[in-house]
Subunit: 501 residues, 2 copies
Amino acid sequence: MSGKKPSQTIVIDWKPDKQSKIPLYSQIVSYFSEKVASGDWVSGQIIPSQRNLSELFGVNRSTIVEAMDELSALGIIESGFGRGTRIANDSWSLLMRDKAPDWQDYIRGGSFHSNVPTVQIINRMEFEPGIIRMSTGELSPDLMQTEITSEVLKRLSTQNVFMNYPDQMGMPGLRSALQEHLRRIGIDVPLSCILIVSGALQALQLISTGIVKAKATVYVEEPSYLASMNIFQSVGAVLKGIPMDSNGISYWMIQEQKIVPQHSLLYTIPTFQNPTGGVMPMSRRVELLNYCRNAHIPIIEDDVLRDLWLEEEPPLPIKSLDQNGVVVYTGSLSKCFSPGLRLGWLVGPESVVRRLADVKMQMDYGVSVLTQQVGEELFRSGLYYEAVDETRQKLRERRDWMLQLLERYFSDLADWDKPAGGFFIWVRLRNRASAEQLFSRALKERLLILPGSVYDNMGCSSAIRLTYGYLSAGEMERGVRRLSELLREMERAQHGIYPQK
Amino acid sequence: MSGKKPSQTIVIDWKPDKQSKIPLYSQIVSYFSEKVASGDWVSGQIIPSQRNLSELFGVNRSTIVEAMDELSALGIIESGFGRGTRIANDSWSLLMRDKAPDWQDYIRGGSFHSNVPTVQIINRMEFEPGIIRMSTGELSPDLMQTEITSEVLKRLSTQNVFMNYPDQMGMPGLRSALQEHLRRIGIDVPLSCILIVSGALQALQLISTGIVKAKATVYVEEPSYLASMNIFQSVGAVLKGIPMDSNGISYWMIQEQKIVPQHSLLYTIPTFQNPTGGVMPMSRRVELLNYCRNAHIPIIEDDVLRDLWLEEEPPLPIKSLDQNGVVVYTGSLSKCFSPGLRLGWLVGPESVVRRLADVKMQMDYGVSVLTQQVGEELFRSGLYYEAVDETRQKLRERRDWMLQLLERYFSDLADWDKPAGGFFIWVRLRNRASAEQLFSRALKERLLILPGSVYDNMGCSSAIRLTYGYLSAGEMERGVRRLSELLREMERAQHGIYPQK
């Protein structure tokens, strides 16, 4: 608004454009709306007579009548009772109130499901200061080999950096470096079967929109990382949890369910499973592949934690056994080297890879070529292997420390297995303690944990996933101790015993 | 297969696992299948009697009967006619044939539409050697400021590179650098309204899955870049082309269509439109915003080419006029600096940005932090502005050269406008020449152009989009000359005049 007291009658210094294809009356309505919206004209100001307007605008009376009718209907002007036509009382706020699109309605209309509330909270809280992130599924900065990344960047800066759009399958140099990398773990495929993606999560996202039918069943381990996301649900597929025994997914229970749906898939993390940390032995891998091959159920094998083994190398991937194109395999740098780089790969039958590459081109035109060039250099030079080797040493210490702490503070409260790799410990609380309740209590003290309910809606709500990859020794101790105290408080409250003053 | 002649009778050196939860008969079936699939056992080999099997496997006769029944039903074994039970004739090929999942069926089932065939061809062909890419919507390597990227990488390599998962909205440093950048073009928003994405295409992808309802109408310019993609169609929305006049989209024709659908959106590229190269003057921007505000139609403003102005700065973005959260704005580094970096940004109402950030977290966990750090350094240091300045000089020469060539070879064949920025020239062929036909002919000579039909299914098939950002002077000349020759050949053929021997 101009600040000075407006004159009684509005001042018109504009004419509609007769050459325009926009109807004249419509131009006049727009002009009035804008003047009011901008605050140039305010409530109560008088509008010249229709005859005057007709002259001022240089248009027919009928055009003015049409415009005034619409302005009146919109509530922008009001007339009558001997006071002449004026800018209406609530015109400005009315214009303002109605102007913004009803975004909530748009947001509700989108097909992609929102993250589950717990995950949304965690995603937000993780970046707040002073939080102890016992939930975070990544290495801490000091476990990552930053100097190696710096070294790679220095090397790149002296080369002619490629800056154009990448090939839709990914840069050939990186793909052939990965081909070598994959051979080390028994996966021997032509380049045409390797697609570069920005992390394994994107691989899943491409699979969900590229090859999954609405209402398809996706079998997952119970509990499974995938249950914490809405990727497959967002395209109308249904996740179905299959229980695990100590060797991994009990695939034979798929059959026992007497459902043989068309277009089903099976998602598994056979190595250092997320969230349980378990490893599927080779025998179960063979059996699972055999079963899925016979049942015509494609397997999605998520193998992002493989290189973080702590005692001995895990069994070869299921994909290494796959002679029939049953398995779509995905790996990445995120867990073992750097999540921020956003570099992953997908290996599958050529037809599937081609299809997913096409979808990817329509989603984001491919992975950052900078990231891809860093990836190529890491694998070609062998720096990647040096880096994970270094990381493993440090990670082993942290795991052992976390196990000591659990032994000290949780031995009467929970059960857990010693993880052979990765950085997750699946802590199963005794006495039916509620993981959700513990999550809420811990959150209040700026302690983030992941309640099992996020991974499994079928009764695992007495487990929590702790991670030892992100915390310092001190934070770990404070966190574990405080969690055990909270748990004891919860137990006492449940039994009606209140803490003494 | 082992290579040596197999013995008559199969050799069994395995027992089912009685501790396993997998039914014994099922384990036996798996064992047989694998032995045949691996080639260890071949057609014609004799299977021991049921009594012997029962002993060898240490299981009941009834279990053997059950297993043999299933193996027989699967066609893996065949029995009878006094020859005993044997591995069946076609067992191996039968196992193999049936083993791969029917991937074509999965591919057909995916919700994301495939790229239109012409675009698929172009995406593939662009990376083949010896192709003249008159279609490519990006700067050529020698127009990009590679030294600046090298300089930035060198600077990063001496810092402590951030390597963890990024904040879900993007890295704070980059976002505040972008806030400054946006202020230069009249967009003044809080940080909470800025989301980092991997290119404007991903912004569109997030919008389509995050806030677009199935069956929503998306109004687009006719022709429009968006029509060449299946982003919105893949979530069930419908693109509706609105004709343009020389000032851009004729928004009033939306109303004339007498459709006032709920949940519609309008997508526009007001500055150096893709594919026509046109610029919407400020007056039309004001009118369009006013119209959409009143009609409650959110605007998606795609502004990726802005910084490639060649004569004078274009009008401010529509978003700079937006007081009511009507406009979701997107920009990127792809067109003006480097497409390979994959860095873009989205600016919109906070609720929308929060929603799209959540969707993005479920799709790919955010943009490469390396890319983000490069972006921050580019904007903070001002190197970005130096780079585009340099690029503009060179690009102007190329545009002028392309215009000269068109004048020389196409003056009697087509019409076009001089682009004021960007790198597209929209060449409207005369005499109803078919752009599709020209595309096919040119393709045979390894000359890639983009036929107008890709951008518009409503009759623009007599136009082609040429680009002057990617080709060298020589390639440009060869390409334009050859295209004009092909066009003349097509015309002669149409009139029954064949080239003379």
